[in-house]
Symmetry: C2
Subunit: 355 residues, 2 copies
């Protein structure tokens, strides 16, 4: 790849907004960092890659992705290590997944020089925005969409890649109440469920609102063919501790290949805990509960890291999990994951990317 076809120019803001950030009360998504990255892909190549002051975009109402949803994103976090230096957690995994999403959605490949170097330069320039207090982070949002000014249905030719960032406060693990959905389907074989396509999330808004009205926090999605096998919880991967084994659905084109999912599996195996990636039916979960073998259940994702499940409601019956205070898997893996992220434990898997 000829990397000389683009260079990332930098235009700095004249007035930082950092003093608007209340470090003691960070509200996610309330305020964005001073700068953003944008790069256009046109005539088959990347051009005009630029870091510039965060601000609005001027877009035609005929912009292709407004109508046809050809858009993808990623979510990544930067932390401050023990020395107070910003580190990014496993961004190469997100870069690879971003390009898998891009291919399936008909969007162009984003080279490492744009995605990784762009992110590094952006976080470095806005390093004051990486919060320093306990359990906080800088959320990094790369995204890309088709921006042809054309509303006919045809292969698109103009694309915009961007990165924006915003501070994120500490996440409190309040165990969630789950509704097992057998009406709506999130992903199906031959579809785009394994990608971080915008459309996957928009399609889940209505079902999510419906279950919240019923008093639940999240949906446990089932497979679309047999409505029998568990897939994901809300926008997270899901894990069940059955006896002394941790089980999570195996990857495929209906499951997002979560970076936190992979990190949790790795840490569990490091501890000698057995992890199975396989099909897991709701019937098996119910049977394990009845046998007293369903010990813990949790979701994993960049936003919440690890989210404990308090109960599951399936076909009108509520399964209560054992009290979280007695759990052993979730607390130990979350503690270790945080220790690595914040540089308080050896980064033996080389997960931290230094700015």
């Amino acid at each position: 790849m000829d990397v000389s076809t683009f260079e990332i120019s930098v235009r700095k803001t004249e007035l930082s907004r950092i003093n608007q950030l209340d470090q003691d009360n960070i509200q996610f998504g309330k305020i964005y960092s001073d700068h953003m990255l944008q790069a256009y892909h046109e005539n088959g190549e990347w051009q005009n890659a630029e870091i510039l002051p965060y601000g609005n975009l001027s877009m035609s109402p005929a912009t292709s992705f407004f109508h046809y949803g050809q858009a993808i994103f990623e979510g990544i976090k930067a932390y401050r290590d023990a020395d107070g230096k910003p580190v990014i957690f496993r961004p190469y995994e997100n870069w690879k997944r971003f390009n898998r999403s891009a291919e399936r959605l008909g969007l162009p490949y984003v080279p490492e020089e744009l995605f990784m170097d762009g992110m590094r330069k952006l976080v470095d320039l806005d390093s004051a925005w990486v919060p320093s207090k306990g359990q906080t982070s800088l959320y990094i949002r790369p995204f890309m969409m088709a921006v042809d000014e054309f509303i006919g249905i045809k292969p698109t030719t103009k694309f915009l890649f961007m990165i924006i960032t915003c501070p994120a406060g500490p996440y409190y693990d309040k165990p969630v109440s789950i509704y097992v959905d057998d009406k709506y389907v999130r992903a199906f074989p031959g579809g785009i469920g394994y990608t971080k396509a915008a459309g996957n999330y928009g399609a889940s808004m209505y079902p999510m609102t419906e279950v919240r009205k019923m008093g639940y926090d999240q949906i446990l999605w089932m497979d679309g063919v047999e409505h029998k096998y568990v897939q994901e919880i809300g926008t997270m991967n899901v894990f069940f501790v059955l006896g002394d084994t941790v089980v999570t659905p195996e990857l495929g084109d209906t499951i997002l290949e979560g970076v936190t999912r992979d990190s949790v599996i790795t840490l569990l195996r490091d501890k000698g805990i057995k992890v199975e990636e396989r099909q897991l039916s709701i019937d098996e979960i119910v049977a394990a509960h009845e046998a007293g073998e369903l010990k813990e259940a949790f979701g994993t994702g960049t936003a919440a890291s690890i989210s404990s499940i308090a109960d599951l409601t399936y076909k009108g019956k509520k399964i209560e999990l054992p009290s979280v205070e007695n759990w052993t898997v979730v607390p130990s893996v979350l503690q270790e994951l945080n220790a690595i992220r914040y540089g308080k434990q050896e980064d033996r898997h080389n997960w931290l990317y230094r700015i």
Copy 2:
């Protein structure tokens, strides 16, 4: 509904761009009419509905639908009747379908006073943009999306409804070559296939590009569970003439309830032709072809109206349809549909909406 909560204000352009339109060589989507409609929904109600000069929107890069694809659209056409007056074809059907899409995507209900009156006022103001030469039309694109400036996943609260329009040239029915896809899936029970959600179209870009590389024009999508029953062709509903019966897939949550589909079924039944809306397997189509009973096949949609199918390739075997010159169903129904649209035949079903 309290319609006094919104009124549609009008701010006219100071300089029309109509002289940029080449009436003899209209390229779809090349140039948009002078005005557009926009209305925001916030704090639970519609407000600030306005017709204003067509132009760019200023949007935050954190705008919700950029990331989560909560967006829908419609496609409608206006024609000039025998007296040269603009008429809109069956817009109430699109209004109803728009609201079905809106509900499933977690977007607000758009009242008739906004959708229909807004469209009428907009087309009336830009009536010079409704082309007058043979088989031309004004394409009308209503669309709506979630525009909260927030990238967390939570129910959205701010929405933008818009209508833009553009002239469309005559459509030439060049019979299309179809690839029967058994790898990618467009729609699935429990999903959003029946809606005009943006995400449905973005997900089809890559498969569409793949089949075009193989030399085909469009994909015939199969059902996602058994890969056995035909669903839609590209972005159109599909019909097969088997012997003396016209068969089209029955509606459900995986099939778009096409307005042209319904119009074609109605006109066929008016002529005494038997139409069946039912499950139709690819095996039945292959068997009918082998028995010499597969007479015609076509797609229907607002953009192309009726699109004849030249051949179907399934599992490496190409089924050639009889020569289009010998077809009777497609030409007669297309002729009648156009006669009604252009006011040359009695509008016995009250399909034309007069401005």
